[in-house]
């Protein structure tokens, strides 16, 4: 185990770094979309309740667990958890606290690189004069690695490497010399940029409405987000979505909070620090995040359009189009601020993801900060390249689901049970209050012991057994049928109905309809299938003109599972399973390192 040599420079720096860890792209993109998809104003009440009952307790648990571990020279979750209990297997649960960070950083750096690239494109006014479809296609082209939007070959890979290098270089400067400095610059800039854009969201009104658009008014967007709909409070789906959002926005269940807090000394406060960082994240989400994408998009495109299209992709596929409407100068500045804001939100989070691995290697194998940082960069590169190269084959989504969603819930549930029931709530409560600069309300003691684990268990079970179409009322009354998005549905590939083999000589259609059009784009042949009656687009499939022979022509009717083309195909299910194997290999590698560290500790006499 190492002596404590790395440290935070200032208390404000620690809080900004911790808030930066929590503030991510989800504050600006996931929160408003979740609110829109869960009844607008109905969402905010469960959201706030879950923040009080699950978010705040989890923050206190993770801060105190981290500071506890740091006292014994442990700066990552495997041996922090090990120190909290006598049962040896808990340290292998702690593997999640390193694994999740490397796996999430692998694809998160890719999103970060999009924001960096879009800052460049905004300044270069690349989007000037492009239609909405053109800007959406630009994003699709960008994520197609063989295509270049700037003339730089493999542009997406180049921006990814730049981003990863930047992260690794900052990490190699240590906590106070790197991470804290970025947080001190990035967080104020992020808030300033966010405030300027939110001002536009609050004041746009119907000034951006096109002729004939009756619901193009930003106030309608704000009305939809904030109108209280108390009847929806009885819907479990809304509560689960709110709990999920609180969970992801605070970056709990990752192992980063514990790592940052491990550098706080025994008698220094964590209770007030946790509140300050947690509420700062809440401010960015509730005040700024809710006031940018949705109101601005509704102001120009209408409420109905936003209700139908709200999603993560709006940030890259819609916002640059809307900014153009502000004129050349203000549009360029808005693009710069929007993607700059997302970049700062991203990098302050991805930097946090590097620290658990670095802390672990330093504690257990004596690696210095530089060696730890560059080895983290290498691991992220190995794990991340498949997400860049096979983004459109679904590798990115697979990482996001297993590492960025399921692992967080599993780990947070486990550590909460460990803290409240095995380490013991009395010792835990003492840890939270030790050196506290605020009075922690005593009501939180029973909440941490009973309510938080129960809520987390419900979130986990709901993810495991999500009912079909997320319709809980129907599931309770008409019998339980699992949804394809449930954990079990995902494991069993329930969502894959066609093209089930890894390799095939034909490609089956996933929808029934009519071939709307066949066209060439970026050296690929694309077949768009629409509804047989209305022609509304249902799916677009991509083929190689050299390797595949189309079996249908424009206007032909297509049934589900019809062979659209013949040739040599590697189906998406192959990439999905390879991504899973890759993640399992990473987990096994870290578990092996923990095992090796355990043996090393035993040899050195650290273990009782």
């Amino acid at each position: 185990m190492s002596n404590q040599t790395d440290s935070w420079g200032t208390r404000v720096g620690l809080i900004l770094a911790m808030a930066g860890n929590a503030v991510g792209l989800g504050n600006f993109l996931r929160f408003p979309v979740q609110a829109v998809q869960n009844g607008g104003g109905a969402f905010i009440i469960p959201y706030l309740v879950c923040f009080l009952l699950m978010g705040i307790p989890l923050l206190w648990i993770e801060w105190s667990v981290g500071r506890f571990g740091g006292r014994f020279g442990n700066h990552s979750t495997p041996f922090i958890l090990d120190k909290m209990t006598h049962r040896k297997f808990w340290k292998y649960f702690g593997v999640f606290g390193i694994f999740t960070n490397i796996a999430v950083a692998a694809y998160y750096c890719y999103i970060e690189s999009w924001t960096l690239s879009y800052v460049y494109h905004s300044l270069m006014q690349t989007f000037s004069g492009m239609s909405q479809t053109g800007i959406a296609d630009f994003f699709n082209g960008y994520t197609d690695v063989e295509h270049s939007t700037t003339g730089i070959p493999y542009e997406a890979v180049v921006f990814y490497l730049i981003c990863l290098f930047l992260n690794t270089w900052i990490l190699s400067k240590g906590l106070s010399g790197g991470v804290e400095k970025v947080a001190k610059i990035g967080m104020p800039l992020l808030i300033a940029f966010g405030f300027i854009l939110a001002l536009r969201g609050w004041t746009l009104g119907d000034s951006g409405a096109t002729a004939g658009c009756t619901d193009c008014n930003s106030f309608l967007g704000l009305d939809f987000l904030w109108r209280p709909e108390f009847t929806s409070l009885a819907d479990p789906k809304v509560w689960l979505a709110a709990a999920g959002q609180i969970f992801f926005t605070l970056s709990v269940g990752m192992g980063t909070i514990q790592c940052y807090a491990a550098y706080v000394r025994k008698n220094d406060d964590i209770a007030l620090n946790a509140m300050s960082a947690g509420w700062m994240n809440g401010f960015v989400e509730i005040v700024l995040g809710a006031s940018i994408v949705i109101p601005i998009a509704v102001g120009y495109l209408g409420l109905d359009w936003v209700k139908e299209n709200a999603g993560f992709a709006m940030a890259f596929q819609t916002m640059p189009y809307l900014f153009q409407k502000w004129g050349a100068f203000f549009g360029t500045m808005a693009g710069f601020m929007w993607f700059g804001l997302l970049f700062f939100a991203g990098i302050t989070s991805s930097l946090a993801m590097g620290t658990p691995w670095m802390g672990f290697m330093k504690d257990e194998f004596g690696w210095n900060i530089k060696k730890g940082a560059w080895s983290f960069g290498l691991l992220v590169l190995i794990m991340g390249l498949p997400t860049v190269l096979f983004y459109q084959e679904g590798v990115f989504d697979e990482y996001d689901y297993w590492a960025g969603t399921v692992s967080l819930v599993v780990f947070a549930l486990a550590e909460t049970i460990l803290f409240s029931w095995i380490f013991g709530i009395d010792r835990g409560w003492e840890e939270i209050n030790m050196g506290a600069d605020m009075k922690v309300p005593s009501i939180y003691k029973p909440i941490i012991k009973y309510v938080t684990p129960l809520l987390l268990l419900l979130v986990f079970l709901a993810a495991l057994f999500t009912p079909k179409d997320n319709n809980w009322k129907r599931a309770f009354s008409d019998g339980w049928e699992l949804d394809k998005s449930s954990i079990i549905g995902n494991i069993t590939h329930q969502g894959i109905e066609v093209n089930k083999d890894y390799f095939a000589d034909f490609f089956e259609s996933g929808v029934a309809g009519k071939v709307n059009r066949i066209y060439e784009e970026r050296n690929k042949v694309k077949m768009e299938i629409g509804d047989a009656t209305t022609g509304a687009k249902l799916a677009t499939y991509e083929f190689s003109p050299l390797k595949h022979a189309l079996q249908f022509r424009e206007g032909d009717l297509v049934r589900k599972a019809d062979h659209l083309a013949t040739g040599s195909f590697i189906n998406k299910v192959f990439y999905t399973d390879m991504a899973r194997l890759y993640l399992i290999a990473l987990f096994a590698f870290i578990a092996y390192m923990v095992h090796k560290a355990t043996k090393k500790r035993a040899l050195e006499g650290h273990l009782a």
């Binding site: 040599t5 420079g9 009305d223 904030w226």
Partner: protein, 47 residues
């Protein structure tokens, strides 16, 4: 924008801003602990 939505937005956003400001202000106003504390910038000798 309906009155209910407006009031809800103002109340929640204002409350969040005030609480965030309050906790941050409390952090700034709390005097530092005697050495050794967790923060290196107030150390007499660099670590």
């Amino acid at each position: 924008m309906s009155t209910g939505a407006f009031l809800m937005m103002v109340a929640v956003q204002l409350a969040t801003t005030i609480i965030t400001g309050f906790f941050f202000w409390k952090v700034l106003k709390t005097p530092p602990r005697p050495e050794p504390d967790s923060y290196s910038e107030n150390d007499e000798d660099p670590r």
